[in-house]
Symmetry: C2
Subunit: 221 residues, 2 copies
């Protein structure tokens, strides 16, 4: 058919890094990364189960056999989507934890950036990791995202413990509870974003959330 202009055969990804020689057989008519990003947006908006393979082939603009040849089955496509999402849209938490000098500053930055990321115009609102496997009949899919969420909370807890050990936070700080509080806050912000809260609303919400932290030296509210 090829009815949509000259969108076809534009990509034809290289077979290997650095090699300019083409692959052997008929080349792919679509760009794999572009199609993957379309799948990512669909899964992000509607979740794993509510996004049918038929939906996917429509938004990716490819036939079902092409999808299965390029990405495996629906499950492995979703797994790849989750990896790409984590690297492209979900890495702000890891960056904040790694780059900010204190746990408090890291969480403050995380919540501020979450307010922006979860309400970015032109993209699904909220966090794919929080929502995309909710009410999923496949327990493995649900578990895979649950593990990512608990891993995030565990990373918060480690960062808080570091600050307690360094004397930046009080010695009697309940690191586990504070980490879970932070995780619940982010997940609650994601839910609020899905329910229509604006970036500014989430930012003022985040500011309130930060007031539970002891202020290390400075007096900022």
């Amino acid at each position: 058919m090829m009815s949509d202009g000259d969108a076809g055969r534009s990509g034809a990804a290289r077979p290997g890094a650095g090699s300019a020689r083409r692959a052997r057989g008929r080349p792919r008519s679509f760009d794999r990364e572009t199609a993957l990003e379309k799948a990512l947006l669909a899964f992000w908006e509607h979740g794993y189960e509510a996004t049918s393979v038929s939906d996917l082939t429509r938004v990716m603009d490819i036939g079902a056999p092409s999808l299965y040849a390029a990405f495996g089955d629906k499950r492995s496509l979703f797994d790849e989507v989750v990896r790409v999402y984590g690297a492209r849209y979900g890495s702000f938490t890891d960056r904040a934890l790694a780059e900010e000098p204190t746990a408090r500053a890291a969480v403050a930055r995380m919540l501020r950036e979450a307010a922006a990321v979860y309400t970015e115009p032109g993209r699904p609102h909220g966090c794919l990791v929080v929502h995309a496997a909710a009410n999923c009949s496949n327990p493995e899919v649900e578990q895979s995202l649950r593990e990512r969420r608990t891993a995030n909370v565990a990373a918060f807890e480690r960062r808080i413990r570091d600050d307690v050990a360094a004397g930046v936070l009080p010695a009697d700080t309940d690191a586990g509870a504070l980490a879970r509080y932070t995780g619940a806050m982010i997940q609650g912000m994601s839910q609020q974003a899905r329910d229509g809260a604006s970036r500014e609303e989430l930012e003022s919400l985040a500011e309130i959330a930060m007031s539970v932290w002891p202020h290390a030296g400075t007096a900022t509210g």
Copy 2:
């Protein structure tokens, strides 16, 4: 078949309140309220879409035609389930708002009771209103629960405004942001409960969440 003991024909609800005369035709072989509660638990655990009519007829132990005759279609059964859930399991927020003397006390009680309700043994964890319509292909179902969530946040906000007007809370309190913060906290606690957090963990989380509130006179933390 009637293979499960004498469980059948036990209920046969009265046709009208006070009237002892039986209904006209063949009496129902199951207790409507019992079956409705089973449907409630199924929808609570797996959500609207992931709970198939086949799942429902199995857990309610009735045939599909009986389900449709007694409850209408799947959608209207879910609507009734949501109403019953709100009255039986979700009313603790309204009670706290109505019975506690201040917004702060009401929210403190709400979060404390949420920690218990969302982790009650033998029941699905978390809140049906938060989770059961996530990733739902039917936008009306998703919207109906979204409206309940936003109505709850609006009720928080009204209660907070009352305290601001009464001088119980500072005049510069951002009632909307504090209400959304509370809603996000409850929703985050529900998500944490789904992810396996215990009642005690949610309680210490709630205690942290309450520390953002100005303390009206008393010194409790």
